[in-house]
């Protein structure tokens, strides 16, 4: 039996991929979303979103709550779902191929929605302490640091939001920001400044980490003077937490295959990459703003473009 050739293959089940799926499915294109984990991408682990236009609970809702209807909408419009990790691709022919751990998948078009997970701080010995003090998931790990000291790398919106969340657990929280001021709206800045548990160290980046088995030392470097300062965990505590919300990592799978810029995929305003029939949507692409709303918009545009492109193949 010949392998199924989908009209649209969507790589990634975050908001970008789900929006693309919804639009493609509703346009009666045979569509599949391939996702290795759970739906939602970065916001699956975000406990509180308040800036998605039209969100059901205006005062705030979790990423999971926001995404669940998107998953249902895809189901409603007949989008197929495959759970697999894609490791390589072949876009050389008219029929595109994605190769995963469990199989190969064929389609006339591909929409890449692999996102940009915050998954590194970029300091020495980072890998040694992941899960032993270093974390990138506040909802997963805040509990371990209840009444302990917490450090947060970053000075952007996410770092501030997650710091406010983590400050409910930690005894004390210090943000380590490489800039000289927080790059966030005034209201958020005020919340940080008024929180008695939170303080900010400016102009620093994390250089190195230390500790026997659990993280108990952070070496920070002043970005202007190069001076190193060692932050040590309280002796009684024995460890502290370091949460990173700055390093954005995209998949490296398309280097050499698609035009990229700094690890992000280049597209035009129709979400077209340099390869006909291949599109990108959401955080993975070069874009001035990475939010749920922009990912969804990108996904919708890409899906509709897929439909138009497929018509030209006939």
């Amino acid at each position: 039996m010949d392998a199924k050739i989908y009209d649209v293959m969507i790589l990634g089940g975050g908001p970008g991929g789900l929006a693309a799926g919804l639009y493609a499915g509703r346009s009666k294109l045979s569509t599949v979303i391939i996702e290795k984990g759970i739906d939602g991408g970065q916001i699956a682990i975000t406990h509180d979103i308040e800036n998605y236009p039209g969100q059901a609970k205006v005062d705030g809702m979790s990423g999971q709550e926001l995404v669940a209807p998107m998953t249902e909408q895809c189901k409603k419009f007949g989008v197929e779902r495959i759970s697999d990790t894609i490791n390589s691709c072949d876009f050389s022919g008219t029929i595109k191929k994605l190769v995963g751990n469990k199989g190969e998948y064929l389609g006339k078009t591909v929409i890449i929605c692999t996102g940009a997970m915050t998954r590194f701080i970029g300091c020495k010995n980072e890998a040694k302490y992941v899960g032993k003090g270093v974390s990138y998931c506040a909802v997963c790990d805040a509990n371990f640091f209840e009444d302990f000291e917490i450090y947060v790398v970053g000075g952007n919106g996410i770092a501030c939001e997650e710091s406010l969340y983590l400050s409910k657990y930690g005894r004390k929280l210090t943000m380590l920001h490489k800039g000289d001021k927080l790059a966030v709206p005034p209201a958020l800045k005020q919340q940080i400044e008024e929180n008695p548990k939170i303080s900010v160290m400016y102009n620093v980046e994390v250089d190195d980490l230390g500790g026997d088995e659990l993280l108990s030392e952070i070496v920070v470097k002043n970005v202007n003077t190069g001076e190193l300062t060692t932050l040590k965990a309280d002796e009684e505590d024995g460890f502290f937490g370091l949460f990173g919300f700055t390093g954005k990592k995209t998949t490296g799978m398309f280097e050499g295959i698609l035009d990229m810029e700094n690890g992000y995929i280049k597209t035009n305003e129709k979400m077209e990459t340099n390869v006909p029939g291949v599109y990108a949507a959401g955080d993975v692409r070069v874009t001035p703003l990475r939010q749920v709303v922009t990912a969804c918009a990108d996904g919708a545009i890409a899906a509709m473009q897929c439909g138009k492109y497929i018509n030209t193949l006939k």
Binding site: K36, G37, I38, A44, I45, H47, Q64, S83, T85, N101, R119, V130, G131, K132, G133, V134, S135, Y136, C137, V139, C140, D141, A142, N143, F144, F145, E146, E213, L214, L215, F239, G241
Partner: protein, 105 residues
Amino acid sequence: MLDLTKENFAAEVLEAEGKVFVDFYGDGCVPCAALMPFVHQYAEEYGDKMKFTSLNTTKARRLAISQKILGLPVMAIYENGAMIDSVVKDEATADSILEMIKRHI
């Protein structure tokens, strides 16, 4: 799958004979919840070859820390009172957990 507590952890895991699989999870840990159905499936398939257990670390924080765990999810294999293998955080996927189980049966 056996539910572990801080009261029974030593007896059921550290002092157990043979290999023991431990799923360390927590309330609010979304990735943990996503992996749970797969772990239950593996417990059914391989439960005769290995003991499958899970520990809610939200209710047993100090115990988790004593096992050098400060981040979730952690899927671990214990033998003779020590953790001999594990997949942690992003490394922990349905596939990698199954591969780890197969390494030890």
